[in-house]
């Protein structure tokens, strides 16, 4: 119907028009929500239509405009980005259904602003996924930060605004303060920023400057939430749960680890980087983040903050996998982006459902809630199992690949970290799940409730099923991702 | 002798500093403007001094004047005529503003004006 370049462009245009449509339809909530859903479906169909071509080895390109001499806003779809875009656009449909239930069930204010910013954020995610060079990626990275700010600050009270300030400050600060100079430095070294299989920096920079550049990227890409710049993610939890679910479990954070993976694979080049001792720095940073965030998560009682710290740890799995720089682990990195997305969005959906139904946010008050909300808590359990990495869920598959990569490299630090964090994950998820199902209700709800509104339950059941589905049908995805290793 | 021959320039420097001091030290607007005028006047002197050529006469070519007559350089004089016009305009505008300030505040002392603005 459309050529491949047109399809890429449409992936940006559809959500953009959708945002306008939402803004115009603001006065009629039903029309507005129809616009959102239509946009989501159109976007997903559009993005997914690229899959066969990419799977067959095609690399659709689009050259938009030359922004700076020799540097264009350009797009090139490769397996990693294809996966990210397909994931984000697909889950957006589910999330939109869920949003409607959540926002109406909760009687939120300013819903039009909320629904207007959402497509813009998705547009930015698509731009990041399809970007053909680092400049384009950076542009949409910043668009994503700014378009999600109103979503985080949605509630508008003092505490929320303070949190939103942390969110904005850290994300803009790291990207402008570190990522931008790293990028300009790369450009002045290599004369290009195109994502090139095999990298563009080989032979152009040596230790110890390479270590500096590497750290500027690793920390500058704040959306990957490596410690010590992880604080924006817990801060972002003041947002309505649909935002936390899609953006702060999928689109925004995955954009971060996606960027890191892209930089390793296509800017540094994994073979070149592997030969440099300083790539160990990132491994250490990631291991540190995984363990420490798990310990912090153990101490959280607010459910969403607990999930946030879990996310920080899981993101570092991806960074760890990417920085092991072995073929299996690179595939594992992309697999884990997907596996974690299914699991974590389910967990957030469940947390939001509990909030809408019972207004509870603290896990110490949720004993026995599984009896009132069996579907929700069952889905939560599935997500938790996936986080821990047990079969038959998605988390098991990706962890398998990452472990494989670590063994290829004889990286005992990574192995030990993975084992310890698995135990810690189990330690903070399982007691809560048991308590929810087996204990007696300890805090009676303000008013009697059962499950949350049906759109929410439907959404979270679907994502829980996807977590199983990924376990069973991951092979095509692994094959697709293996293509990124070809030069 | 050589130093004495440069006395114009010393006067220029002294006037410049006097003017600057007046501007900075006085809180009275009119006095500051007087300082500003002195400051600009110093520059006129600089330009006029540089056009002087030893033994030179006024730069007007008269019929019958010997071919080897030395003339002073007319260009700086022309320049400074322009600069004087500019200086006058600036002073006039400054004084006009001073009048308006007096109408609006009832004083032309800067510290008093500052006091009144702070109260606002």
């Amino acid at each position: 119907m459309f050529t491949e370049s047109q399809t890429i462009l449409l992936a940006l245009v559809i959500p953009f028009i959708g945002a306008f449509g939402v803004a115009l339809a603001g006065r009629w909530p039903n029309v507005r929500e129809t616009v959102t859903l239509t946009t989501a479906v159109l976007l997903a169909v559009n993005v997914w239509s690229l899959l066969p071509a990419v799977y067959a080895g095609g690399r659709p390109e689009l050259h938009l405009v030359e922004m700076l001499p020799g540097l264009s806003i350009a797009f090139k779809v490769e397996p990693l980005g294809m996966l990210f875009a397909a994931l984000a656009s697909g889950l957006w449909i589910v999330n939109s259904v869920y949003s409607i239930g959540y926002m109406r069930g909760n009687n939120e204010q300013n819903q039009t602003r909320f629904y207007t910013c959402f497509p813009i954020a998705l547009m930015a995610a698509m731009g990041i996924a399809f970007s053909g060079n680092l400049l384009t990626l950076f542009i949409f990275y910043e668009v994503l930060t700014i378009s999600t700010y109103p979503l985080v600050a949605h509630k508008g009270d003092q505490a929320t605004i303070r949190s939103a300030r942390v969110y904005m400050g850290i994300l803009l600060g790291t990207s402008i303060g570190l990522l931008l100079p790293a990028m300009i430095w790369t450009y002045s070294l290599a004369g290009t920023l195109d994502f090139t299989p095999g990298g563009i920096l080989e032979g152009r920079i040596a230790e110890p400057l390479l270590a500096v550049l590497l750290l500027m990227y690793a920390i500058g890409i704040g959306k990957a939430a490596l410690m010590p710049i992880h604080r924006w993610l817990p801060a972002a939890m003041v947002a309505p749960t649909p935002v936390s679910a899609l953006l702060h479990a999928v689109a925004v954070v995955k954009a971060g680890v996606f960027t890191i993976t892209k930089v390793f694979v296509y800017i540094f080049g994994i073979d070149f980087l592997f030969a440099q001792p300083s790539h160990k720095l990132v491994i250490w940073l990631a291991c540190f983040t995984i363990v420490v965030s798990s310990f912090i998560a153990l101490r959280q009682t607010n459910l969403k903050r607990l999930l946030a710290y879990s996310t920080i740890g899981q993101l570092s799995y991806v960074v760890l996998a990417a920085s092991i720089l072995k073929p299996l682990s690179e595939v594992g990195a992309s697999m884990h982006m997907m596996a974690h997305a299914f699991g974590k969005i389910t967990l957030f959906f469940a947390a939001g459902a509990i909030y809408v139904a019972s207004k509870k946010t603290d896990i110490t008050e949720m004993h026995g809630i599984g009896r009132r909300m069996p579907w929700t808590m069952a889905a939560f359990a599935v997500g938790a199992v996936s986080m821990i990495g047990m079969p038959p869920t998605a988390g098991f598959i990706s962890k398998w690949y990452i472990l494989g990569g670590a063994i290829q490299d004889d990286n005992y630090l990574a192995l030990a970290t993975l084992v310890v964090s698995t135990l810690l994950n189990a330690a903070y998820f399982l007691p809560f799940v048991f308590a929810a199902f087996l204990y007696k209700e300890n805090v009676p709800p303000k008013k009697e409730h059962g499950e949350a509104p049906w759109p929410m339950v439907a959404a979270l059941t679907l994502t829980a099923l996807l977590t199983f589905g990924f376990f069973l049908f991951h092979q095509p995805i692994a094959d697709l991702e293996a293509q990124i290793l070809l030069k | 002798m050589e130093l004495l021959g440069l006395y114009n320039y010393f006067v220029f420097a002294v006037l410049l500093m006097v003017g600057l001091y007046c501007i900075l030290a006085r809180t009275n607007i009119i006095k500051s403007l007087i300082g500003l005028t002195i400051f600009q006047g110093a520059v006129f002197l600089l330009y006029i001094s540089m056009d002087k050529i030893d033994g030179g006469t006024g730069p007007i070519i008269l019929e019958g004047a010997p071919a080897d007559t030395i003339y002073a350089n007319p260009l700086p004089q022309v320049l400074i005529l322009t600069a004087i016009v500019v200086g006058i305009s600036t002073t006039a505008l400054g004084l006009a503003v001073a009048v308006r300030i007096r109408e609006a505040y009832g004083t032309i002392e800067e510290d008093e004006i500052q006091e009144m603005d702070r109260e606002q």
Partner: protein, 496 residues
């Protein structure tokens, strides 16, 4: 001679002639119309000239047919054409935008003299930009300054008068210092034509004289350009001038002094004073870095929106100073591009402020609570401008910052310090921009405040958005200013 050959002269002559006409027009609205006509014509002429020199040519126009170095020549290359476009464009846009706002603030009885002064200001600024004569620059500088003083003093608050008075004193000192420097240059070389001076200056053996000349000229222009710590006249002048006047002078007038600084320093002194690169860096790097931080910090603690933007301008001028100090093609390109881009950004932002002031009758940030909902288009324009100050991609500020960092990276170790300073101050910009955003979007208006329900009138919104969209266009396709700035930088550094 065709009309096209006369365009350089017309660029200055059209406004110069229109000014007295505007003063004589006593009917309602006519002086404004005359000013718009003159400025739009000048803008079109500037664009035509820019198109002519876009390939790298230089137009030399001899006034009255007197050849250089005896007569005054107009000297138009890519750099001056770019600046001429900025000046006339800013002026025309501000005037078209400002009809309603000016009627509100300035009033009918002084309109003829006000608009006459405005037109003269354009004439002076364009004259400074295109003339090739160092003394002529002084004359045009004073024409523009005197008329700017008048424009500022027309502000509705009586504090405008005191601000004007300070501006007069500081401006005159700056111009006089410049004049002294030119005098010394004339003593050394016997010429006033910049090209001619540059050609003769190599024979001057007395380097000290040149150094003194360079010192006076640089400091004098730095004062007029409000480079920190010589900026003291600027915040109050911007704050108390009529809102539309602020649009104009913030976008264009300080930039022109920076332009003259670049032109004189690089065309004349750069190659002829030993170690001049180092001297320039020693002066401008500390000033620039201080400007970045002091300006941003002052902006962060400021409660008045206009003064906040003025302090932000202090910081932004710091970027330009840093770019100038780098003495490299990318550094100068960054400085020139940022002059243009910052003009677009700040012009647009002050337009938004004028819209806000029209409805809220106040520019105190605290009083603007709820503006995000009441005036969504105005606030959106403001936010886009603010993002430009931060240097977020897809805004013109990003383009400037890109070249600035690229230029700094060429400098090695010192460059790393510069990069750190530049980026840190961008982050400070986040704070002061977001301070306004939070109030406008997330604060509820005070209970006793008069509620504002209406957007600004379309006659103001449309020009504002044209400026904003022009900025966004430059951000996406930066070829126009970048090409011209690179040409200018290469010419100045003798790389072409």
């Amino acid at each position: 001679m065709t009309l096209h050959d006369q365009l350089p002269a017309l660029l200055v002559v059209v406004p110069l002639v229109t000014a007295p006409i505007a003063y004589l027009l006593r009917a309602h609205g006519l002086p404004w119309a005359a000013a718009v006509a003159a400025n739009v014509t000048a803008f079109i002429i500037a664009c035509a000239l820019a198109a002519t020199v876009y390939g790298g040519e230089t137009i030399i126009y001899e006034m009255g047919g007197w050849p250089a170095p005896y007569g005054i020549v107009l000297h138009i290359d890519a750099l001056s054409a770019l600046m001429a476009m900025l000046v006339t464009g800013a002026s025309a846009a501000a005037l078209i935008f400002g009809a309603k706002s000016l009627a509100d603030e300035v009033g009918e009885e002084i309109a003829p003299s006000f608009f006459a002064a405005w037109i003269l200001c354009t004439a002076g600024l364009t004259g400074m930009v295109i003339t090739g004569d160092a003394f002529n620059i002084f004359v045009f500088m004073e024409i523009s300054s005197l008329s700017t003083y008048i424009l500022v003093s027309a502000g509705p608050d009586r504090r405008a008068l005191v601000a004007t008075y300070r501006y007069i004193v500081m401006g005159t000192i700056g111009a006089t210092l410049y004049l002294i420097g030119v005098g010394f240059l004339y003593m050394a070389t016997g010429s006033l034509n910049t090209v001619d001076i540059a050609a003769r200056i190599g024979d001057v053996t007395e380097v000290r004289l040149l150094l003194v000349a360079a010192g006076f000229i640089t400091v004098g222009l730095a004062l007029k350009a409000a480079i920190f710590p010589l900026h003291s006249w600027m915040p109050n002048a911007y704050t108390f001038a009529p809102n539309v006047v602020t649009v104009f002078i913030a976008a264009a007038s300080a930039k022109v002094s920076l332009y003259v600084l670049i032109r004189i320093d690089y065309a004349i002194f750069y190659k002829n004073i030993p170690n001049h690169e180092l001297q320039l860096a020693l002066l401008l790097v500390p000033m620039g870095i201080l400007a970045l931080f002091a300006g941003s910090m002052l902006a962060i603690y400021e409660k008045n929106l206009k003064r906040l933007l003025a302090y932000s301008s202090v910081a932004q001028v710091g970027y330009i100073a840093l770019g100038i100090s780098m003495a490299s093609v990318s550094g100068l390109t960054a400085a020139i591009v940022h002059m243009f881009n910052h003009g677009l950004i700040k012009g647009g932002m002050f337009m938004a402020v004028a819209c806000l002031a029209l409805r809220y009758r106040s520019v105190n940030i605290a009083n603007l609570a709820g503006a995000g909902r009441a005036m969504p288009w105005t606030m959106a324009a403001f936010v886009i401008g603010g993002l430009g100050l931060i240097g977020v991609p897809l805004t013109p500020g990003f383009i400037s910052k890109w070249y600035l960092v690229l230029g700094a990276l060429e400098k090695g170790g010192l460059g790393a310090v510069l990069v750190a300073a530049i980026l840190l101050s961008s982050l400070l910009a986040v704070i002061y921009v977001w301070k306004v955003v939070e109030v406008a979007y997330f604060k509820e208006p005070r209970a006793n405040a008069v509620p504002v329900e209406r957007e600004a009138p379309l006659v103001m919104l449309i020009p504002t958005w044209i400026v904003v969209l022009a900025g966004l266009w430059i951000a996406i396709d930066s070829s126009m200013p970048v090409t011209m700035a690179t040409l200018g930088a290469e010419t100045l550094l003798g790389a072409r």
